[in-house]
Symmetry: C2
Subunit: 210 residues, 2 copies
Amino acid sequence: MSQIPSEPVLDRRMQILEAAIVCFAKHGFHQASMHDISAEAGISVGLIYRYFANKEAVIGAMADRHKVEIQDLLERARQAPSLLESLEILFTAHCCEKAPKVQSAFVVDLYAEASRNPQIADLVRDVLQTAMDGVTDLISRSPEAKNGATHGLEPHELSELIFAVARGMLMRDVLQPQEMTAAERRARQLEVTRRLWSLLFKHEYEPALA
Amino acid sequence: MSQIPSEPVLDRRMQILEAAIVCFAKHGFHQASMHDISAEAGISVGLIYRYFANKEAVIGAMADRHKVEIQDLLERARQAPSLLESLEILFTAHCCEKAPKVQSAFVVDLYAEASRNPQIADLVRDVLQTAMDGVTDLISRSPEAKNGATHGLEPHELSELIFAVARGMLMRDVLQPQEMTAAERRARQLEVTRRLWSLLFKHEYEPALA
DNA sequence: TGACAATGAATGAACGTTCATTCATTGTCC
DNA sequence: GGACAATGAATGAACGTTCATTCATTGTCA
């Protein structure tokens, strides 16, 4: 098979969503106009309406896509050989794949939108719950938890702290004055991950900092 | 002298800002119209323009006010008798004074705005730096730090983690389906604070959970 | 030719902002 | 005190612009 797109409709949708995330991150959901998106995608305004009912639907589809991405990420984290490495995957992928700052800005905007759009809030809450359950499970199965190296905290409590830190770092990202390189950002995130890991789980490993 | 307000101008500005934060939290900076704000304040649209050059200036003034509030908060935290109590003040005041969810939504929106408005980003970064310096200082002076109970982490590293968790909790707040009571919210925040404190600083105190 | 993909000018609603106008209050003079 | 002038806070209709959305038209391929 060459690359016949079995669903050219899906390709168009993806093309539009790809453009949309760039515009949303650059201007915010409501500041980004449909003309901006169509220009970014290199198509006409009207065509967007062939694939999405309206702007809300584009935002909704973006949130859905984000959900799938998070689930993929969690699956990858699950397959890591150690808990630390799982956490490293979770903490670095979230902000370092693709365009770094675009992702962060989009997620912060998504939460801002969630604060006043109950539909988006439901979706984000659902994603978050799934991801947190995944990490809770990851912790439960880890040797660290089985060896009682968790300071008496329950896996779900640790998971909550881990996600709080992850969100907090994400928020900080959007303040960064100019683009860091993906490598710099990754290094910084790894440092935080290790620091957090060494605090949350008892370690006879190395004395904290890298 | 009876109670002649020496600066009625400031009162009007405050009245407008009070209305603005409600509208901004409810609809977001750019979704809240000047008409919304004037209606909430119970005045006419035109009057807003007597006290603020334009909408941007209202947003800027809100951010400035937030800066002052944070500095007050830090001052209060500084006066607490112990590090744990300082942290409790920092973690609870931020979300529990006044209207709880309004504050959180406003701050998340502020960060979203910062991601694309360099002027706002500068302001938020400045506030954050001041606050973090304050907490770093607080930690440095604490008995915990002097007794080497900080897991080998520097005060500023601990401060970074503390603020990351605080921001992360704030983001989570906006997902809460319906308003919690201030008391519930406070209880939850205190639990997280204690959990974090017991992880960051070595404790022969009580075994973690309340 | 017919069916469908794609265009982009046109539409109307909503927005930020302006400004001519109103009117309660204050000051001034007899 | 009473008549009148001056003030400027407050109003809200109106303006120009932007935006989401529509749809008549054009392009494309089988």
